[in-house]
């Protein structure tokens, strides 16, 4: 009987979680010292701040009776966007991190050990030897 209300409330909770993750990520983007540390904030911002609210919006749209037939377009398209984001966002940030490390654009600041650097040196060592 209260199907629409519960679906909408669940969607709103998800959107609220998403907004909180989004705020935390954007504050993190400002406060973190280095590009590599900012990657954590960016991925929190994309997955927690975009994927979770989109699922919530899909639920809100499904429960929204007053939208009429539009709600199915909204729910479908936001679920597709969510799937696109969950697949592409990690790939995008990973490619960016790899290219930045390879092109040595950012000094690895808070550094304990850089295994990738060692592997590259080892590989170059084998090539020269």
């Amino acid at each position: 009987m209260y199907v629409n209300e519960t679906v909408v409330y669940i969607g709103e909770i998800l959107v609220a979680i998403g907004v909180f993750c989004d705020l935390a990520a954007s504050i993190g983007m400002l406060r973190f010292p280095n590009f590599y540390v900012r990657l954590h904030a960016a991925t929190v911002g994309t997955i927690g701040g975009a994927f979770v609210p989109l699922i919530g919006i899909a639920l809100i749209a499904l429960g929204a009776e007053w939208l009429g037939t539009y709600r199915f377009f909204l729910a479908g398209a936001s679920i597709i966007t969510a799937i696109i984001i969950i697949i592409l966002a990690p790939v995008g940030s990973h490619v960016l991190a790899r290219a930045t490390h390879k092109a040595r654009l950012v000094k690895v600041e808070p550094k304990v050990v850089d295994h990738l650097e060692e592997d590259i040196k080892k590989k170059e060592g084998d090539k020269n030897a």
């Binding site: 629409n4 709103e12 907004v19 983007m29 398209a77 092109a103 654009l105």
Partner: protein
């Protein structure tokens, strides 16, 4: 309070929080010391704008905005790939 007003009120509450996080991302994009910082900030910002567009399409009760969110998510991925390909190619271009 009917469900419609309740959802509209909820979206009105969520709006300024989204806009606040957008401004913080834009500050990082402008101030970012290196190019990857700017690209990362724009990447995260655009994915959140895609979610924001979906939210807008609920508020304005029209399905037209949502198609733009799908394209935006794809476009940002292309931006990442293109910029990182440029970084790597330039590095090997010696």
């Amino acid at each position: 309070m009917s469900l419609e007003e309740q959802v509209t009120l909820f979206i009105m509450i969520v709006f300024p929080l989204y806009l606040l996080s957008f401004t913080l991302y834009i500050i990082r994009a402008i101030r970012g010391p290196t190019i990857p910082d700017t690209v990362l900030a724009i990447d995260a910002l655009s994915f959140d704008i895609a979610a924001f567009l979906a939210l807008l399409s609920i508020l304005y009760r029209s399905p037209i905005l949502i198609s733009c969110a799908v394209v935006l998510a794809l476009w940002v991925y292309a931006l990442d790939i293109y910029v990182s390909k440029y970084f790597e190619a330039r590095d090997m271009g010696d």
